[in-house]
């Protein structure tokens, strides 16, 4: 029986590999690969993967109690494995095959026709496989971000099933609408409602942040919250994680230029400036309110700034990036420190407060500060460059941005609610109260993060 099983598995793998070999070589010969661009995009891909592991895993891992550190890290790591396989099988195709305005087709399922030559619409100087693997890293970190909301109380099995389904139902359609061929919101490829989202403010941060909020409300509070104290068990781990996120984000934002030219530089500088301003914004407000600037505040602010500059990175002037960062740092602080406590939901690690709020702010501010001198997105039929954002007189763009935000919020709320309901009714979402008290490391994974005996 076992031998049969492994034979079937081997046959399946060969079949899949066969598909790849059979179709990979069909391509348009007119475009050539730029080794410089490809080098930068491969480095960027690796940088974005580093954001999830170890970046986000450490950032989140430090924020939970000792007994749950591995469970949180494992949730991020599981996305690195699960989403990768899902991407190869179907979700890349659903995001980036031509398809409809809302979702891609199945042509690229099992990596069919994902070639080593460029595709004019997906980075005309890099192999489309580079584009595919780069986009994969975004698809990995997005569901991993959600895990911050339901940390310390969700079953590992339920988490895995929920987030795999979420990748298909929420992430792929949103990525398709904003970046895919024929996508409704695609500003670069003539979508009906062009929305500016350079590196994933709507696709990554609004979807993950808003879904996180729904998860926090649907699952309910952790036992003892908010009366029992649950402070971070190691701000040191979080600190290292946040610094890795900052560095990795250069791949996320500057890599989104899909080339190594001047636009990548612009996105790189904006990313850095906004993050610095946001770190000072958050820590500064703390300094005024609590008399002390905290390390956790500074790094949380930095992440809020990275989130907010994401949609704007390749569209704005550097000084506006500083303004965007500062606004994000201050607003996200108040969301996390004040508004969350007012409403009483238990977004354990503030996935909504930072990513949902920062992503929404960034998407709106992009519509205000986008500059056609940085990135000429809109042209008339004669090829004349048209204004981009509100400050250049294009008020309509702000409406489009709000439309994009509304769609991202809508698909996240509906998709997440439906999926949570389905998983809740089939395998159940939460661990038992006893397991929650004992900790998820032991009850879900049978191990401990720190050896108490040694």
């Amino acid at each position: 029986m076992r031998r049969n099983g492994s034979r079937i598995l081997a046959a399946l793998f060969l079949g899949v590999a066969g598909c790849g070999i059979g179709f990979a070589q069909t391509s348009t010969p007119a475009l050539t690969v730029s080794n410089a661009d490809n080098a930068w995009m491969l480095v960027s891909s690796a940088l974005v993967l580093m954001m999830t592991g170890p970046g986000l895993a450490l950032f989140y891992g430090g924020l939970v109690r000792k007994k749950n550190v591995l469970s949180v890290m494992m949730q991020s790591f599981a996305m690195m494995a699960l989403v990768t396989l899902l991407w190869a099988i179907v979700s890349y195709s659903l995001a980036f095959d031509a398809g409809t305005s809302f979702i891609g087709g199945l042509h690229h399922a099992f990596m069919r026709d994902v070639a080593l030559s460029p595709d004019a619409d997906y980075g005309s100087t890099i192999p489309v496989q580079t584009f595919m693997v780069y986009q994969l890293m975004f698809a990995i970190i997005t569901p991993a971000l959600i895990t911050g909301a339901f940390a310390e109380r969700m079953k590992f099995s339920a988490m895995a099933v929920f987030l795999v389904l979420w990748s298909i139902v929420v992430y792929s359609p949103m990525a398709h609408m904003v970046w895919g061929k024929g996508g409704l919101l695609n500003a670069a490829l003539g979508g009906a409602m062009p929305t500016l989202d350079f590196a994933g403010g709507t696709v990554v941060h609004i979807t993950s942040g808003v879904s996180a909020l729904i998860c926090a409300i649907y699952l309910g509070k952790r036992l003892g919250y908010p009366h029992e104290p649950a402070p971070p068990h190691s701000v040191v781990l979080s600190f290292i994680g946040a610094c890795l996120l900052w560095v990795g984000w250069f791949g996320f934002n500057a890599g989104s230029a899909l080339s190594s030219g001047a636009l990548a530089t612009s996105a790189f500088v904006n990313t850095h400036f906004a993050t610095a301003a946001a770190a000072m914004g958050w820590a500064g407000v703390e300094w005024i309110r609590n008399k002390k600037p905290s390390a956790l505040g500074a790094i949380s602010g930095a992440v809020a700034g990275l989130v907010a500059i994401t949609p704007a990175a390749g569209f704005v002037q550097p000084m506006w990036a500083i303004v965007i960062g500062l606004i994000a740092g201050v607003c996200c602080y108040f969301m996390v420190a004040k508004v969350k406590q007012m409403f009483g939901y238990d977004d354990a690690l503030d996935a909504f407060g930072v990513h949902g709020v920062g992503g929404t702010l960034g998407a709106v501010l992009t519509g205000i500060f986008a500059s056609s001198t940085i990135n000429p997105m809109f042209k008339d039929s004669a090829g004349k460059v048209l204004p981009s954002g509100l400050i250049e007189g294009n008020a309509h763009q702000l409406l489009n941005q709000l439309g994009g935000v509304a769609i991202a919020w809508g698909i996240s709320i509906v998709g997440t609610l439906v999926l949570l309901f389905v998983v809740d009714k089939t395998i159940g979402l939460r661990v038992s109260p006893g397991e929650e008290i004992e900790g998820l490391d032991i009850t879900q994974h049978g191990e401990e993060g720190y050896d108490r005996g040694a």
């Binding site: 309110r289 956790l296 949380s300 602080y333 420190a337 406590q341």
Partner: protein, 112 residues
Amino acid sequence: MQKVEAIVQPSKVEAVKAALIEAGITGMTIVEARGHGRQKGHTEFYRGREYSVDLLPKAKVDVVVQDEMVETAIRAIIAGARTGKIGDGKIFVSKIEQVIRIRNDERGEGAL
């Protein structure tokens, strides 16, 4: 024989240790501890949430000495640990009935 048990600030452990050794007391046990007496805890802020931490990090230094050495030990500990501020700690002195050296079953003061 008596046990002199001192709860001191963790930052004063090295000074206490040095003072004890200088006073001729070479055997001691030091454990990391948490606690508070009159010194109240403090407040920590994590993302705007306030946590009051009432158990503070302390160190416990244990020495067991002959009766005539007790005052010397107390003087040494105070010399090493006193800052004059609340939170310097406390010393407890208690009788010890028996001491046994595990290596050779030696008992009494000779085993100290």
